[in-house]
């Protein structure tokens, strides 16, 4: 574990910007952060919580011409634990053989612990943490005087190595301060869910038996696809013919035509089966097929929902 002072962190970012395009979570207001491109001398704060949009769109685009493109080397600062976990699932899907050559594997992930939370966040309700435990190149934890930095990959280690003069070993006191901070934010989140934690195995068994609850919440869905677009664990797309090559569009299982086949047959032409499919996918199908759940508890789906469907509340009700 390394430490970097605030002053040195500025130099670190400046030095990296020679080679890399850098993105970070810029604060819009008390409840919103958005991804911004770092420019010279801008303050790069890692305080706060998840951004409005997930980080997944740095790795593939909502509309993409599938041809070789020159890529600028990129670093994303400040992905939260939820985004990192979402990317773990996406990597499993996109990078399983045959690999998707257009899903970016070169983007460096410099995650950061949440220091506060959005009102819709519920990662702890899923048993997850408001910080990343793996899946990052470097992880940053905020201290008053700077950051603690953890290496998560060879590439992360190399970058630290090549800027080693800016870092020093973290003290036990600093490590303890971070542990305390992490506990504090976890407690804050847990309190918001009245200390309730979902038993995911039990939830899996109960989901299909509690159709009435899926119906109760699903009836307010307007199939707008906000929830899937904004979800760090949703990965679906549609491949189309372009002028020269294939084009990929982000797609959503919430659209009526999503599962329709030639001739018109459609297993999910009705609203509730579509709504239920999303829940099944997150908590049954992906855990069974990929070994990872499709929900990271970021709560973005609720934040963006036109029907104000409270997914956390629904999951807790199913579990009850």
């Amino acid at each position: 574990m390394k430490f970097i002072s605030k002053e040195n962190f500025k130099s670190f970012v400046n030095a990296l910007s020679d080679k890399y395009e850098i993105f970070y979570p810029a604060k819009l207001n008390e409840q919103q952060y958005e991804w911004a491109k770092w420019e010279n001398n801008k303050e790069l704060s890692l305080e706060g919580f998840r951004t409005i949009l997930p980080a997944k769109y740095f790795f593939y685009s909502t509309r993409e011409n599938l041809t070789e493109k020159a890529k600028k080397e990129t670093i994303i600062f400040g992905l939260r634990g939820c985004d990192v976990r979402g990317l773990e699932l996406l990597k499993k899907i996109y990078l399983e053989e045959p690999k998707d050559p257009y899903f970016r594997t070169d983007v460096l992930i410099f995650s950061a612990d949440c220091t506060s939370s959005h009102r819709d966040c519920f990662c702890t309700t899923l048993g997850d943490k408001p910080f990343a435990e793996s899946g990052f190149d470097l992880n940053f934890s905020c201290l008053e005087e700077g950051f603690l930095v953890e290496e998560g990959s060879e590439r992360g280690k190399e970058i630290l190595g090549s800027h080693s003069r800016l870092f020093r070993e973290a003290t036990e006191l600093q490590k303890k301060a971070i542990t305390d901070k992490r506990i504090k934010i976890e407690e804050e989140l847990k309190k918001r869910s009245e200390e309730k934690v979902l038993d995911l195995q039990d939830l899996k068994n109960k989901i299909e038996k509690n159709k009435a609850i899926l119906e109760e919440y699903g009836k307010d869905c307007v199939s707008c696809s906000s929830c899937t677009n904004i979800c760090p664990g949703c990965f679906c797309f549609l491949l189309c013919e372009g002028e020269e090559n294939k084009i990929r569009y982000a797609d959503s299982c919430q659209f009526k035509g999503y599962a329709r086949v030639a001739g018109g047959a459609n297993p999910r032409k009705n609203l509730i089966p579509r709504f239920a499919n999303r829940v099944y996918c997150k908590f049954i199908y992906r855990p069974e097929a990929q070994g990872l759940k499709g929900c990271t508890g970021c709560g973005r789906c609720f934040s963006s929902c036109q029907g104000k469907i409270d997914f956390k509340e629904m999951l807790l009700k199913i579990q009850m």
Partner: protein
Amino acid sequence: MDPYKGIKAEVLSIINETPTIKTFVLKPEKEFSFSTGQFIQFAVPKVGESPFTPSSSPLEKEKFEVTIMRVGRVTESIHNLRKGDVVEIRGPLGKGYPLNEFEKKEVLILGGGVGLAPLRSLLLTLLYEKHKYNRIVLLYGARTPIDIVYKNEFPEWAKKGAEIYRSVDKGDENWKEKVGVVTTLFEDVKLNPDNGVAVVCGPPIMMKFGTLKLLQIGYKPENIYLSMEKNMSCGIGKCGHCGLGKYFVCKDGPVFKYSQIMNIEGIWE
């Protein structure tokens, strides 16, 4: 390797099967081999791409065939292709029929309408090494005699050793065979479900009632093989479109044992 890039294939000839179904004989620009039951993505450049299972024997190396019914935008443009046109194909994709599981067994092939396309590929493959299988039985149903695909090939298949039973929902004055839905053919044939496998492909409703009939006469769910039709888009297990429960049909199928999917909701829709 870019799995989204296909290879070119030339349309060598086109066979009119029925008023709405054509078989396209394609010559790929480079070597292309597949296992029977695997599928391809067939693209009309700049128009669209759709999944089909080759209907010819995989033993033929120079060319292969796909049999396509005109039902939508992409198949419409495929039907407008002419001899000499060039299309793009990706594949082979998915898993084919597990032929080794059929060995020393009675193989029942149950097909409906254009669903005979992948089954024809299977049938030709089985007949080539007929000695490996105890018996090969084909039950085929179509709506009317006009809707029967591969009309001229049945005698040849019979000569090679397939037992063939056919039905149409609605006959005409020349039709001497069975009239009724395909499951009525089970009345005419003695089968051995205890040492047999059944392979089913056809429209969803026929798949459903065909499977129920097979279960009723004693086939075990693990001995019933279904070719599932879903709207495969990427074809390599990434885009999510062909999700069937935890499976992606393109990667884990398109052939499934009924026992794998029997508890998934809406499989017949």
